[in-house]
Symmetry: C2
């Protein structure tokens, strides 16, 4: 164990002071309850959020500026970031951070560049050629939250696949700071991806602007990105106005499985990296070793004391669940039931167990694959389904920025091959018009052949 080697480490808190729920060998019947997330009460926000949407829809830019003053406490005259602001920001980033962001960009680009699907023409019958083609969504909006951290990494994660997909118009909205500006690192990340339409606009008003369009902000067809409860609610309501969204959102979460080969200091660091996101973050720790569980708790207490965001993390740990299970098989079953956004496998058979994953957003295999590397730089996307949605949703990828349109082309011969079957089925479904569209053509083919 290396915890004592962590620079600046001085033991402060006893782990007895952290309150965490530890469940010892729970019955399967209780798993559903164990895996439940806190319910987000979005409906209660709907009225106030809908009001903001309506105001932006009616008053456009004026409403955007009023809400920015009201919610962000800042007067913004020009909503769009100017080339001058961009130039200024680029000068403010230290070169080592620039290089780090560039590295992240390159890896994310490399991973996502392998995703676009090539066209394959399938001849289902002689004379019947069918294929599908990925076509970029023309206009997309990327929401980058402000708040307690300048999430330039989220910008990379959304902008890079949008650019690879070939979206024609990519719009970024992010709330301005107290100085009315965006964080230079956010602007640098945008600059790296080549996106130029960036708006100092956050919260519900940003979602509203991209949904309806205003004089300054273009309307888009799909909105991406995380946000607080209000932003989440706004994205849901925006769908009523025809806009698509990336996925339903919820607090970030990690599931970790550790056996007796895990390093408790590593595991604790991973749990805390999740817990520091916010007081509603979810940590779900499954362990097959009593000793490791004990040591992880001890390490949590030690490492927590060193965190600048320890208040968030401590609060988050209080809502977290530590579960002792009998073996790795049971661990994987429980974790599949939980369906975590991130899943870390810190155990002997990590690669083999990864094959058993059914429900998760992104999986980190082995002791040297912390979630942090995927959050920033390894190449995979960090915009992932939370709140159990990993059962049915995928994370953001190039797929999220395209439609897969199907095409087909029949020769007269192809229509002769398939036509009679279509006529029969259409008639059986009671759809004579569908049948006629075939019959009228078959009659022509027959005429042509007899000339």
């Amino acid at each position: 164990m290396v915890a004592v080697g962590l620079e600046g480490l001085r033991l402060i808190a006893s782990y007895k002071n952290i309150h965490m729920q530890v469940l010892r060998y729970p019955e399967k019947a209780s798993w559903e309850i164990i895996c439940r997330r806190p319910v987000m009460d979005l409906p209660s926000l709907e009225t106030s959020v809908e009001k903001i949407l309506q105001e932006v829809s009616e008053k456009g830019d004026q409403a955007l500026k009023e809400f920015t003053l009201k919610f962000d406490n800042v007067i913004v005259n020009d909503l769009e970031v100017s080339p001058g602001e961009m130039d200024e920001a680029l000068k403010l980033i230290p070169s080592d951070l620039k290089n780090a962001i560039l590295l992240a960009k390159q890896n994310v680009e490399k991973f996502h560049s392998a995703q676009p699907e090539q066209i394959r023409i399938i001849e289902t019958m002689p004379g019947i050629r069918c294929w599908r083609k990925s076509v970029a969504i023309e206009k997309v909006g990327l929401y980058i939250p402000g708040g307690t951290a300048p999430l330039f990494s989220t910008l990379l994660m959304l902008a890079i696949p949008a650019v690879i997909a070939g979206c024609r118009e990519i719009v970024i909205c992010s709330p301005p700071g107290k100085d009315g500006k965006l964080h230079p690192a956010i602007l640098y990340a945008a600059h790296l991806t080549g996106i130029t339409r960036i708006f100092k606009l956050g919260g519900v008003q940003a979602i509203a602007a991209m949904t309806f369009g205003t004089h300054s902000v273009p309307r888009v067809f799909k909105i991406f990105g995380p946000g607080n409860q209000y932003v989440t609610c706004a994205k849901q309501l925006a769908q009523r106005y025809g806009v698509a969204i990336d996925m339903p959102a919820g607090p970030s979460e990690v599931g970790v499985f550790a056996d007796d080969t895990a390093d408790p200091a590593f595991v604790a660091a991973d749990l805390l990296s999740q817990a520091e996101h916010g007081p509603d973050s979810q940590v779900f720790f499954v362990c097959s070793s009593e000793q490791v569980l004990e040591n992880v708790q001890q390490q949590l207490a030690i490492q927590l004391g060193l965190l600048p965001r320890r208040n968030f993390a401590a609060k988050s740990l209080e809502n977290s669940t530590l579960v002792l299970v009998n073996n790795e098989q049971e661990a994987m079953e429980l974790l599949n039931e939980y369906a975590p956004e991130h899943l870390i496998l810190s155990c002997k058979n990590a690669s083999a167990l990864a094959e058993l994953v059914v429900n998760a957003g992104s999986v980190f295999i082995g002791n040297y694959s912390p979630e942090s590397v995927g959050d920033y730089a390894s190449g995979t996307n960090h915009t992932l389904p939370t709140n159990g949605h990993a059962r049915a949703y995928s994370g953001v990828s190039v797929d999220s920025f395209v439609k897969k349109i199907t095409f087909q082309q029949l020769t007269p011969e192809g229509l002769k091959n398939i036509g009679p079957s279509v006529e029969l089925m259409a008639a059986a479904e009671g759809l004579q018009g569908h049948k006629n569209a075939v019959s009228i053509r078959l009659a022509q083919v027959s005429l042509d052949e007899n000339i």
Copy 2:
């Protein structure tokens, strides 16, 4: 032209009797209005639909039976189709229809079997391996509407990709007829796909059952399939309870472009095959030839009189739009703005114009590719985005039944390569815990190397 060759054709209606909106060379400024769909007033249904959801959630099977009696006017004792019922149904299908459905099944299977993505491991940096893997959604529900036509084709379109994806539990719900049974062709199609869990259950109560689960009907993670306004509303509300849905629904629609090489009789047959779906179906006909437009109208009048569902079709045509444009370039721009569910290109340069398609669900190229063949049997899926949603959504495919989970595995060497950059970025985002998860491991790597 072949219209006179269509069997049983006797001219009945003058086309002057069909009321259709014809727009001659409209200005671009008016396109947005031209392309607007009628607004579906789903919010007004929400209260009554939510009430049904709640009752099913609380009372389970009992509520299902009560609602089936109330809405379908039939008493169903066993909600699930028994093996005996299945056997009986199989005997009722004529063998030529069986063969036709089998042909459709084979083509749809062939087309969709090419869709699953193979795993490709990307080494983004030395020692950092990332990949994604398609994993089937474990439990899915397929809704097959009843009503005016037994849509066994929809069953094939949903069940085949679900089976190819490898979904473990596939549940079908479809409303019983007056006799309390499902149409034999629906059961035959289910039988062909190997699905055995079929419920005689329709409407909001079916969506509710699959959302919450009851004693008889399993809960699922994602619900697929078209339906009337109530079903559509129920699917939207179900999302609040954590269920995913295939896509937002709306009335079916077709966009057609014809130039002077088009056969007006074919075009009219295609428009009518869409119009017969129901009075709210949308037909959007774009034409670059005054003469062809005139002839298509004439053919519409002739062919309409022959349709059993001519009342639906006539009503639908009244809401339809026929637009004269100056050339094929303008036609494609207008059709991309409209974003039709189905797009038929009946024109000289059909293949070249297909390359210009940006927004459409499925494209039918040339004079011998009627929508009907794709609706039933050519291989492509007929569950497609309507209502302008083709701007951001794809049709159903194997993708719809999987999650693409990302994986990563780093060696200690890989972590050394990327770790310092991650530490810098985490610190810049103010997330010390994220940094620690890397630092604590790098310290260990360093220790190990110095032993």
